[in-house]
Structures are given as C-alpha cells and as structure tokens.
Subunit: 490 residues, 2 copies
C-alpha cells in the first residue's frame, strides 16, 4: 500500500490502476478512453515489438502499411464483420475546420466528405481490397504480411492497457492458395504467440479455439491463448483467425490455381496488442509494485551507490563502470543511479515500484570487503556476495528470476484450475475461488449464453489437444464429449 | 524506359511515379491521398527508423505514445498553430454506425460527439497539454520524448511518399528550463538529421533556417535541411523547431526554476517522415530503376545462379551458402535467388529495378575458374573476380558504392548551385538550369512573396554559418548583408 498503491487483496482493480499510474507506465488522456503511454511503459512495448517482429520475420513475414481510414462501404461488404465493428467506430465526416468569423473554430460544413471514413478497428477490409490487385495466380501466393499500427474501437468502459479506445497492435494478414495452408498458418501464429507469452512474459497460456459465439467477426475459426490473472480472471492474450474465403469473396479476390482454375483466396489474420502490457502487470506484480520478467524489463539491473563523501562515490564509480562494461557485453541492461538528489532508500522504493529485477547496492564497506548487496525483486530476498564473478552471477540470476516468475504463475494457474461437474459448485467457485473452471458443455450457443447471463463466465476456449471424455453438460445435463474452459474474463 | 518506366529526362514526375509503383515501393489507396506502403518500401522505412531511433536514444531521448485524436478546442489554443493546420484536417464527429433498417450502413446521428476530434496533423497540442501534468520544477526538466506515429493532413495534391494525406513520421517534443537549452536541442537535432541524411541516404544537405514566412505554425524559429533532387527542385528533408514558450503559454505549463520563481517552459519539436523515402528515390535513381545506397538497401547483395542442370545448381549452392555465411557474419544482407520460375535475365532486370547495390552471378564456368561476375548497380559496371577473398571485396565495394552515390549527388548539387545577382538571370536559370540559386534578398516578407508569385521559387533557407557580404536584393535592389538559397521545391 506504499506510494499510494492500494493492496491487491483489498481492491484488485484499483491496485492495477494505481500501479499503472504510479509506476509511470501510462495515464488517461483528455480524449475519452484513449491513453498516453509514458516512456517507461512504451519501452516495454518496444521490447515486445522487437522480439515479436523477429519471430514474424523468422517465419517468413514482412511488414507493410495500409491506410488508417477505411471507406464506410468497405465495411459493409462482409456482413458479420460490419455487425461486429459498426457499433463502436470513430467516423470521419469532414476534412476542414474554419473560423466562423467571431473567432470560433468550427467544422466547415462545405468540407463534408461524400463518403464517411472509419478509423480502422482492424484492417481486413482495406487489406483484402488491396490484395485483389496483388494476386492473380498461385505463384503470387502465399502473401505473408504484418502491420504494426494503431487501431480504434469506441469502447464504453475502458481500462489502461486492457481496454482502450485507441490501442497499438500488430495485425498479420496472410493469403493462401489452400484451406490447409491457411489453417497451418493460423496454428503456426498461435504457437508463435504462445511461445512469446510463455517465454518472454513468463506467463503460461492455454492454447485453444473459441466457440462460434466468441469468434472474430468474419472468421470461420478463432484460435486464442488464454492466461490467468492473479484475481482469477482470464485474459485473452492473443488471437489467430482462419477467415476461410469470406474476405476474398467480399472483395472478389480470385486466383488461378495450379489446375488453371479460378478460386477464391484463403485468408488468416492474427494480432496481439498493448493489452499484453496489462497482462504482464496483472500477472506478476505485487503490493510493492511491478514485477517484470528480466527478458522484458527495460532496466534489468540497477546499481545504487551508498556513500557520504565524494571520494567514496569516485571509488564506487570506478568499480561500477567496469561491472557495467562486463554486463553490457553480455547484453544485460544496467542503470547506475548516482543522482545526488535522492537518498538510497528512495531509490530502492522507486526501482521496486518499477519492477527492476535485480538491484545492486554498494557502500564503502562493500568496497573494502570486495562485496556488494544483491536484491531480487521477485522474491524480495537480499544477499551479500563477492564482487569477483559478479557479472556471471547476475547473468545466471536473471535467468533464474525469469524461470521463477513463470513457475509462480504456472503454480497459481494449477491451483486455480478446477474440474467441476455441478452447476451450483460452478457458481460457488466463481465467487469464492475464481479461476479456470473445466466443465462439460452441451455444445449449444443457447447454453453458453445462459451460463454467461447467469454467472458472467464465458467459455474462454476449447483447449487444443483436448482430452476426449464422456460427460454431462454442467447446465443442461445433455451429453458432452469434452470439457471446455470457463472463466470470468477481462 | 524499360518495364513501363518512362525516362526521367522525358517526364521526371511520371518517371518518379512509375518507379515507385514498378519497384513495389507503394501504391495509392482507395482513400483519397492515402498510400499503401508495400513490403519493399516499408523495409526501407524500417531501416531508417532503426538508425534514427538509435541516434535519438544516443542523444538521451525516449519514445512514448500520445493519442491519435485531439479535441478541437486544443487546436484553437495556439493561434498560429490552428491557422496553419485547420484547413486540412480530418474531423471525427460520430462514434457509431448503424443499420438504417433497409440494410444500409449509415452514420448513427444519435452517436454524435459533443466536441469534434481532429486526427493529429502533429502533436504539439496534445503533448503540451500532457506535459502540464509532468512538470512542476526544474528537476523535472528536460523532458526528451519522441513519438513514432501516423499523422494526417488533408492534402489536395498528393504524390506517393512526398505528399500524402496520411504519412508516417517521428516527432520529437522536448521541454527545457531555458531558452538556450531549447535552442541547443533544436540545433542538435538538426545536426542528427543532417548526419543521417548525408551518411545513410547518401544525400548532401544544406543546413539552414527558414524565413518567418516559411516557419512551422507556432515556432519562433524553424531550422531545416534542404536537399537537391535530380530535376533541380529542392526538397525539405527534415525540420527542427524552436517553439519558445508558445505552447507552454497556450497550455499553461509552468515550472519553478532554480531561483524558485515560476516561469513558462521552453519547447522544441522536430520531425522527419516517410517523405525521406521519396527523397531517396528522386535523388539517386535512373531510368533502369532505383539506386539505393547500401546502408539503407533492404537487400545489399543478390546472388543469381546461372545453370542448365540441377547438378550445376547444387554445386553453385554449396559455394553460395559458404559465401552467405561469411557475408552475414559481417552484417551484410544477402539474397540467393534460386527460383526456377525465372530466367537469369529477368532476375537481373528485377534487381536493377529494385536498386540492389551489388549483384553476384555464378555459372558453371565460374565454378571451374573459381570466379564470379560482380555487377554494381550505381555505375552499371561488371567485372569477373576471384571467389577467393570475395566477402572482403564485397564489404569494401559496398562502402565504395555508398561513397560514390553520395559524391555523385554532391557533384550534382555543386553543378546546380549558382550565385545570381540579376533578377532576369534568376528567372532564366529557374527555367533553363533549375537548382539552388544563391541570391541577395532585402529581408522583407513582401519581396519574398513577390518572388514566389512571379517565379514559384521560395527561399529554402538562410544557410547556417552563412558568409556575410554586402549586396543588393535581387528584386528590389535594396541593401542586403547575406545571400539566401532560393529554389522551386517539392
């Protein structure tokens, strides 16, 4: 509850919000639902981008850029797509302001657009309209394109990073000659996301498929990764869609196949967003502040000198400079905080709040003894260690911290994933011990909706490689062949 | 005139447009004035971003992200700023579409915004509104922030990369305690831009300041770098603005200085955009296609095998793989084009069009002789060289090409920069031998405007460190103490 951050057990939602603000990650803007991503928060996004971008390129994708604005008519071409996005989109209607003569700046009604333009909530329509010009034959396929961009969905209830009207994301849009190839791409990108979230965000995920109800507007199949937050709510961390030929049909994108016949092109799209920063914060942090996995921490090691006299600082600085050099050479980011405007205690609290994985404190006695004090953010443990071999020790510790943070989240998920066979028990657990509830479902949209209406729990996914077992739907008692994963969700 | 590209001497403007399209750099979109940046064009932007981003960080800047949409009222707060941008901005008025009952998707008039939002044409207003909350004391200064973003200016006459309604750019926005510090930042960033354009785009620039007429809307002083294109027109390649306290006053951003007095904060902003890709193309390319400086070429070396039988290809491939390994180890990007669907001649033409700096061709006879054929894109020269030591030779050649492209552009600029003392001669040169015209000017906005109206030439800049000399204004004959640089411009 330090520094104005409420305890997460007291009010998880407020704790999250306080933490985002106090740790200098982001703040709300005067534009409803839009956020300002501050340098510290943005540097985590940059790390995510750089890792993901390499993963996309290693799997053969290239980046491109498509227009922010989409003609309204494009939107209407794919029926379920417009249905899904029309209710929450920003509409551009004019292209000029003017001075009304009495000094007020007003919209110039003479500059009204013939056709309204929508700020992209996602880019399938404008991209598939473009692909029509790029694809004639199977030789032009596959097209493996990704875009890093801002998108806008006019959300009514927003939360920093988790749900904002404007957010940053990447959206992959690929075109294929066969359904099989498109499905393989969809699955490949889901695995890329799962790999990224598990190995970099240190957050275990369940790979699965959405029910028809929960699919992306325009998709035949939506794959997703689902993670569990510390309050027992689920968070969808990434999606990968098999779009079939829906967009090719809507935008008339045909190709000549190897048999010299015309066919519609097969599509996928997949995306993750700045929402991942919200997941990262929610999954690992504590009442003292952020806990960042070393692989995504903007600063991995901070060094704080403890001294009274300038000669002491000089002495410490000489040592720290050589340590820094060693660490930087192994790719570890280090900050030496030698500000004389703040006391060591204030610095400790600041880096704890900001989730720096390792803190090194060095005083004059340490210099005499050839030691330093090493403090881990994740376990809040401290130890005095020798300066000799410190760089190697830090390198190993960072790996250990990454693993430990993951393991803690994995244990939490195990403890909060329950097989349930009774609807009363199901409802009780949702209130008393929320988490993933693995239960039988009769496969109908009606049942899914009733459970949602009655409990606010949704089917997060049908896990991939799900065990087949006979069972009875938790609500209707009708026969079922597999369990699905329910939870309340962000 | 190959591959549908017209000769640049015949029609420079058409040549540029054809080249952008044929080389797969970009294309127009269905949204008026907006472009689609294709993967090949975007990969050049990515290279530019990565170099500039490092330069910004090396000079102490961090990235952040501010909202796309700006409340209309923010715009009106700085008088000359709104004057400069109101006439060409996209206005969001509604936040929902609806089905009108007969299947048409229309704007939902019930979802009209109370205050219209403007898609950012630049972010000074939203950022300075934010800085108010970040700055209390001199200890909070300087703030050194950069943003990579899309912006929108509703241009009536657009050209791919050079002038589009939406474009990508970076905008630095810094806050300082003193005017001197802000001016130093403005000058530092101009030098960063000049360094980048000269050393990476291989394009010499003139560093200078704009006349009051040509300043950024809201700036006290605008610094710029100006480059000369092959048709003798100038292109503004980057600007850095000293904004004084204008935005701090408009958004009430005050701080307590070291003397414990309240004062307004001093500001700078600076930006370069995807326009640089247009400059890159225009400055160096020829009738056969792009000529890219190696430091920004997405592919630096392409290897084309020449063979009839598969065994020959196998043999060549073994060698190429070892060459690639060597090249990649020194950071050189290589593409081995072993497609069997295209003949070597077609491949040669493709990479010429796309401006790949070096082409290596290898046939069976080369393999017997231990040689390859090396072709330079910039000079269009070919030579047969030994495979032994080839990687080192390629590395040296790429540097030589970078230097040569720069030198060619520098020579062109020298040949097309003329000191003029007579207005008739000035007009004649603009038509017959366009380029930079260095001439005396009486320093008044009226004269500047008359020259612009009569000749379409503008004052590109007052060069930094300009030689002081007595002279007479080319139009009015009034006394002048220095020459300024005129040109027709993009």
């Amino acid at each position: 509850m330090s520094k104005g951050v409420i305890s997460k057990d007291e009010d998880y939602s407020q704790w999250y919000n306080d933490l985002v603000i106090k740790a200098d990650m982001a703040e709300y803007s005067p534009v409803r639902g839009c956020m300002i991503i501050k340098p510290y928060g943005y540097s985590i996004w940059e790390k995510m981008q750089s890792v993901l971008d390499k993963m996309f390129k290693d799997t053969g994708h290239s980046n491109a850029y498509f227009p922010l604005l989409i003609p309204k008519s494009f939107f209407s071409k794919e029926a379920s797509h417009v249905e899904g996005f029309a209710k929450e989109c920003a509409v551009v209607t004019h292209y000029r302001l003017k001075n009304d003569g009495s000094g007020n700046i007003v919209v110039d009604e003479e500059a009204k657009l013939e056709e309204e333009l929508i700020i992209r909530p996602t880019s399938e329509t404008i991209i598939w309209n473009t692909y029509r010009g790029w694809i004639q034959s199977y030789r032009d396929l596959p097209i493996l394109v990704n875009q890093w961009a801002n998108v806008m969905r006019w959300e009514m209830r927003t939360r920093l990073f988790l749900r904002t009207s404007e957010f940053l994301w990447q959206e992959g849009h690929t075109a294929h000659a066969t359904a099989e190839e498109a499905v393989a791409e969809t699955e490949q990108m889901l695995e890329v996301y799962a790999d990224f979230v598990e190995n970099f965000l240190a957050l275990p995920v369940v790979r699965g498929r959405k029910t028809p109800n929960e699919r992306f507007a325009g998709a035949l199949d939506t794959y997703c990764i689902e993670a569990l937050m510390q309050d027992g709510k689920a968070l969808q961390a990434g999606t990968s869609h098999f779009l079939g030929q829906n967009f090719a049909k809507a935008f008339d994108v045909k190709f000549t196949n190897k048999e010299n016949k015309l066919d519609y092109v097969w599509a996928t799209s997949w995306g993750v967003s700045t929402r991942l920063i919200g997941a990262l914060i929610m999954a690992h942090s504590d009442d003292a502040g952020l806990v960042l996995p070393p692989k995504l921490a903007p600063i991995q090691v901070v060094v704080v000198p403890i001294y009274k006299h300038d000669e002491e600082l000089e002495n410490i600085t000489t040592y720290v400079n050589s340590l820094r050099k060693e660490l930087i050479a192994t790719g570890i980011s280090v900050k030496f905080d030698n500000r004389d405007t703040h006391r060591p205690g204030a610095k400790f609290a600041e880096y704890e709040l900001k989730g720096v994985p390792l803190r090194v404190a060095i005083g004059s006695r340490d210099m005499q003894n050839g030691t330093v004090e090493l403090a881990r953010r994740d376990t809040k443990t401290k130890e005095t260690v020798n300066q000799e071999g410190l760089a190697a020790r830090i390198e190993a510790l960072l790996e250990e911290i990454q693993t430990n943070i993951y393991q803690k989240a994995a244990n939490f998920r195990t403890e909060n994933t329950t097989e349930v066979n009774d609807y009363e028990e199901f409802k009780r657990l949702l209130d008393e011990k929320p988490g993933f509830l693995s239960a039988h479902w009769d496969g109908t949209a009606e049942t899914e909706q009733r459970i949602k209406d009655e409990t606010k729990a949704t089917i997060r996914c049908i896990p991939l490689n799900n065990k087949q077992e006979e069972g009875k739907c938790i609500l209707t008692g009708k026969p079922s062949t597999q369990r699905v994963l329910f939870a309340r969700a962000y």
